[in-house]
Symmetry: C2
Subunit: 479 residues, 2 copies
């Protein structure tokens, strides 16, 4: 366990303050993050959330904690507003396939995209449909305690009764009257005791494909319930960190807290973390207005938003240039700038490796390392951490210009910790440069060949052409 | 739909004959393959099975069928012989992690390995733990029909009663007395009416972590049941193809058939396909005797069996050099030979692309294409298909030597169908050569530079060195 773990402060949405992080069980951290609803291609804003929690997962592991990171897959029960039909069933009809084929298709796609961003896989990735029994059991417990009621085959959480014994909406601090006005869950409103009550179990319409037997009806669980049931199953009644996008704070996370608290008499997680929004050209991303782009469209350049294609690492680096609690605006200018900046980091890595050492040093690498820890310990502040990389570029330039000297010990420390912070913790990959090299090396050969042909040195130019041909690379002579 | 789909014959373990394949629903094919038990790194023999069914999946899709390919993940209920503890729980204790972390770890690993072999993902990949309700419901139906009984909180399939109404062991044609002698499921034998009865539900010991509520006990489903329940859910009572390794024929598939047949009065799948064993140096692979190697150990060369490392494509090509119903023996000699042969196929692809055309042709490419279809239509005979590739090498050599001529139309047909059979159907990837190219291009540059230095043409040699340096590639001058 690194000593710096005592200095980690995390902004807690529950207390609205930055609190020193201390896990419930020494050395063990339990973390739950709300995963995607796999009914379409994952949204860039969601990707930002998972990239942010990847940094958190990686840093906690770096600190020496044994982290059980649970990130669910919502494959059932996520209702469209004002509808009795869930998002996946709806998509299955559109694509004319079985709902579970929709689930499989978009789960595979989700995994592939996160792989491109070098995001680590969670310890457990449970699915909602895989935990129907656990959800039915939890609903029964909530009914038995008097905080939920059956109505026409569906079961609703009784927010009024809950509010008499506990504070409802601890994260968003809404009072119940506000909740009524904000509630768009009009479906089943005539079945509810109070408008702000939310569904724990929904009776399925006859046409609904994804449904299971329960004591109340053939139906399916409400969306808020799955995270309560699965976090309880895999992390217990009380765990360390619960995270998700800011849009989940209310109602999802507030409902989750209520569901768990009415059974265990405590808020399930100590720390609640929320990642902020990603906008596109200053506006909310939205398919209907056309202000929208997918990660894959950024990588292959097949979009109307950007002047060129950008790599996953550029996009990831761009995201890390803002703190996860701040909004970030995606634009052509911003990505072009991030690409240039990331190239400087790639160059930094090379320069660092090639740095000449002296017998003496007037540089303290430990100070630089300490500053990096200070940045990341400040609520996982990635832009601050990246600023330290630019300090390092300055240091290297001073050494290269002879203004400063570094000995081997200090150089090795820099190399080691630059790798720790850039590769292990930020999860940046410098591998893509390798693949790019092939074309650049080829360019050198072609440039050489053109030179030789200009000088009528055809033996060499033909040698190059024939050698490349034998590799299956055909170059045409433009006469 | 291609016309050649009428010519596909498949060996059916149920009839012990090669039968013409005709799907139940025109254009649609339902296929179920028993997936891995994710309690350790997937065995090479299992990989062979999944690679074999990948060929089948790819060919059926090529024929124009809309294939729903279901391959399950066994993440609960696979009991060790003579033990009340399932394989995953046991592993979780060994690794000191939660069973679902074991499941996640080895599921991720399984996916990564199959990706390396360029195996397509199935349409649906359901987990046993995600279908407990469906299994409980199916057990209840079997009890209600009189073919299963509860005993001490567990439920057993009543093979005796079943045998009065149906033929038991349709695939392996064992009679019940033989089954008794072969049965190693001694656990719970005092609870069973007949020794050959098998568990549909097992009451869990107190220490058992993976358990669910049921009408009979807090317990978990028997291993044979999950495939019956999940194939029924996603493919219906009757579907086209059921596959798996030969070792699953009995008891797993025979028990599966019994479970479904007693409810629907018919055998669930029309075609039952079984892939044969993969041995290592003539003997069964076994960890305890040391006669064992993992796919990853073959790729990184970190093993005591082989003289060098081999690529996933070499290993896959090796497997396809035998028909899936034959045993295949892995050895150093065999892999060296397959590597050379695969290189010839890679070269074939290049030669085909570069083939010079004439105005006339005395080659009928269509004959070659027809032969390829004939091979693959013969029970997916991959070695026969590969033999056609060697016929193609002969044809190309005859054209190169001037003995034969080919026109553009015939050349295009060959290029198109070589790609169909090698890339689309066998799923061979020629991409690895691309990455190798970087080093080969670099070698050309270095060879050139050495030449220029010999000729004291230092302007060019320094140009090459500086250009490479700027890419971070440092070349030393050996004086």
């Amino acid at each position: 366990m690194l000593s710096s773990n005592k200095d980690l402060k995390i902004y807690n949405s529950l207390t609205s303050t930055k609190d020193i992080f201390s896990p419930i069980n020494e050395n063990l951290v339990g973390m739950y993050v709300c995963g995607p609803t796999v009914y379409n291609t994952v949204h860039l804003g969601n990707i930002r959330t998972f990239i942010s929690f990847d940094l958190i997962f990686r840093y906690l592991k770096h600190l020496g904690y044994n982290v059980r990171y649970v990130r669910n897959i919502t494959d059932v029960g996520h209702l469209e507003d004002d509808s009795d039909e869930d998002k996946i069933s709806k998509r299955a009809k559109t694509e004319k396939i079985e709902p579970m084929e929709v689930v499989q298709k978009y789960t595979n796609e989700f995994h592939s995209i996160l792989d491109l961003f070098n995001v680590l896989k969670p310890s457990i990735e449970p699915t909602a449909s895989g935990h129907i029994i656990e959800q039915i059991e939890m609903i029964q417990e909530i009914i038995d305690k008097g905080y939920a009621y059956e109505s026409n085959g569906s079961v609703y959480f009784d927010t009024n009764t809950f509010s008499k014994d506990f504070k409802y909406s601890k994260l968003s601090n809404r009072d119940l009257d506000n909740v009524i006005n904000e509630s768009r869950d009009l479906a089943g409103s005539n079945e509810k005791r109070n408008l702000q009550d939310f569904a724990l179990w929904k009776k399925a319409e006859h046409k609904h494909i994804m449904k299971w037997k329960s004591p109340w009806s053939l139906g399916f669980p409400g969306w808020h319930l799955e995270c309560s049931a699965m976090s309880r199953k895999y992390l217990g009644n009380k765990f360390d960190i619960h995270g998700g996008g800011l849009d989940l704070k209310f109602p999802h996370h507030d409902c989750e807290i209520a569901q768990n608290e009415c059974l265990s008499n405590e808020v399930s997680a100590n720390f609640w973390l929320h990642t902020n929004m990603l906008t596109l050209n200053g506006k909310k991303m939205s398919k209907s207005t056309g202000n929208s782009v997918l990660a894959s469209e950024i990588f292959d350049g097949n979009n109307n938003i950007f002047s060129k294609s950008f790599s996953p690492m550029t996009l990831k680096f761009f995201m890390y240039q803002a703190h996860y609690r701040n909004t970030i605006d995606l634009s052509n200018e911003a990505l072009l700038a991030s690409e240039k900046t990331f190239e400087k980091i790639v160059q930094l890595k090379k320069d660092l490796d090639n740095l000449e050492t002296s017998d003496t040093s007037n540089i303290s690498s430990q100070d630089w390392v300490d500053n990096c820890y200070k940045s990341i310990n400040d609520d996982f502040n990635s832009p601050k951490l990246i600023a330290n990389f630019f300090d390092l570029i300055k240091i290297i330039n001073e050494i290269k210009s002879g203004k400063k000297k570094i000995d081997k010990e200090n150089k090795d420390l820099l190399i080691n910790y630059f790798s720790v912070f850039s590769t292990d913790i930020l999860g940046l990959s410098f591998e893509s440069e390798k693949n790019d090299n092939q074309n650049q090396i080829l360019d050198i050969l072609i440039e050489l060949r053109d030179k030789e042909r200009e000088n009528k040195n055809y033996i060499i130019s033909d040698f190059i052409r024939d050698k490349l041909n034998s590799l299956g690379i055909n170059i045409e002579d433009n006469k």
